[in-house]
Amino acid sequence: MSVVVERSPVPSWLSDRITNRHLVAIGVGWVTFFFVFPVLFLVVESINFGDGHPLQAYQRAMGGVYLAAFVRSFLYGIVTTLVTLALAYALAYYLVFSSKRVRLLLTLVVVPLWIAYIIRYFGVLLFFSPTGPLAQSFGIETDLLFTTTAVIIGLANAYLPFAVLPIYNSLNAIHHETINASRTLGAGQLRTIYSVVLPLSMPGVVAAGVIVFILSAGSFLGPDILGGSGQSMIANEIARAFLEAFNIQLASALAVIYTILLIGFIAIFNAVFDLQEALGNL
């Protein structure tokens, strides 16, 4: 391979001054200016500078439908995480220990990640719709649409690939000798899974759980497309306050509360596990 040495397009007086720390500053600066500042600006937007209590939006945000939406986001997030982890563990376990076509099967897990969420929720909607292809072709009619079950199914469907990858990686890293030793020492397969494989794969399970919880608790499209008014999660209430009630103060207050709760959750997690490593698995 011939290497054509090009003249440097940047004058040397400039290139000599750019250090790696400057590169960090440019990258972090871009995200700070166009993401961190806007999110911090919501704090200003959430405060009432007119008549009444400065924090009146917060008083409203912590009661009634909004409190219910916060609780629902948390509960739906937990349930979705548990369902997704169970499915992901079974799948990852099969891929690592029993499958002969790991590459193909892993690709099939990743394929849905390439496709827009809205299309995947639309597919779940079609699945349950009384005028959908299932009902039309097979006469299978469900009353699931616009229920909590439908929302959980949709969320689990959307975020399952995010859970499979970290669990697959942690299972794949287990040395076969360890499992061998357990079997040689007389443990049955279930005992081996319970006492050896499961503990060793915990980092992957925790990483997967955190990712799925963060994504599902903050989901807008899942409850919007598959749920009814009784399934409204916090993202839906924020959007409604902003787009329908034009109450920017309330929408901002809800966003600030949710972001603080989420960052608190991540900080606790980060103290125990490495979030970066978890996200790096994707």
Binding site: S8, P9, S15, N20, V24, A25, I26, G27, V28, W30, V31, F34, P38, V39, L42, A90, L91, Y94, F97, S98, L105, L108, V111, P112, W114, I115, A116, I118, I119, R120, Y121, F122, V124, L125, L126, F127, S129, T131, P133, N157, L160, P161, I179, Q189, G218, S219, F220, I234, A235, I238, A239, I248, A255, Y258, L262, I266, L275, Q276, L279, G280
Partner: protein, 265 residues
Amino acid sequence: MSAVGSLKQTGLLRRGVLLGTILLIYVFLLVPVAMVVLTSFTGRAFPAIPYDGISLQWYVALMTDSQLLGALFTSFVVATGAAIIAVIFGTIAAIGFVRAEFPYKQQLSTIMLLPMIISPVITGIALIRYFGQINVNAGYPTLIIGHSILGVPYVFLLVRSELVTFDNDLEKASRVLGADPTMTFTNVTAPIISPALLSGLFIAFIVSFGEFTATQFLIAPGTSTVPVEIYDMLRTGLTPEINALSTVLVVIMVLAAVLSRYLER
């Protein structure tokens, strides 16, 4: 390998149950998208499995719908612009973070990942209010900058993992042979990490192309994107035209993903 063998020595029944479960999980994972694509070829007025022959009438309807074609154009422009910006800043940050040493480096790099952690609804309202304050017009500018922010974490993670395995001696050799840092970058570093950059470009393109939640706040009249059109159509009722438009989106996104994976090797 014998450990794998021992795990395989399970009863035939247990294996059958396991295989059945795995098959069901794949059905669960893949059937929704397959259903959207399959029912786009119906000749009826609602999404149905086309038993009575394949019809392309809803694709024809799509081709004559100037609003949808406009949305497709907008999505392309926005995703291309956003992907380029995301790759530039994601790569700059990744190089800096891998090579510089300073206190709280790990904590600081979490900032680069925040856009993928914060709910996109919050990202959307935060950006559109902030853009209003700093006089950035709603439409292409808000969409491209907003989507570039959503793509940055993916590029950052991808390029950083590529750089960690990079052989620093190659750069030292280049410097010893008399090249300045920029020449070293263009002639040594860039060619080696460029597959990761191109791969990141396509990932950021996909992230932008399919994004709805933050996008609904960032659009202006006339700059609606494909996911926004799909959402609006879903509000007004199920017609196979939504399926046809979704299928076009699926094809473009999968194509970009395949290119990305191919380049990564």
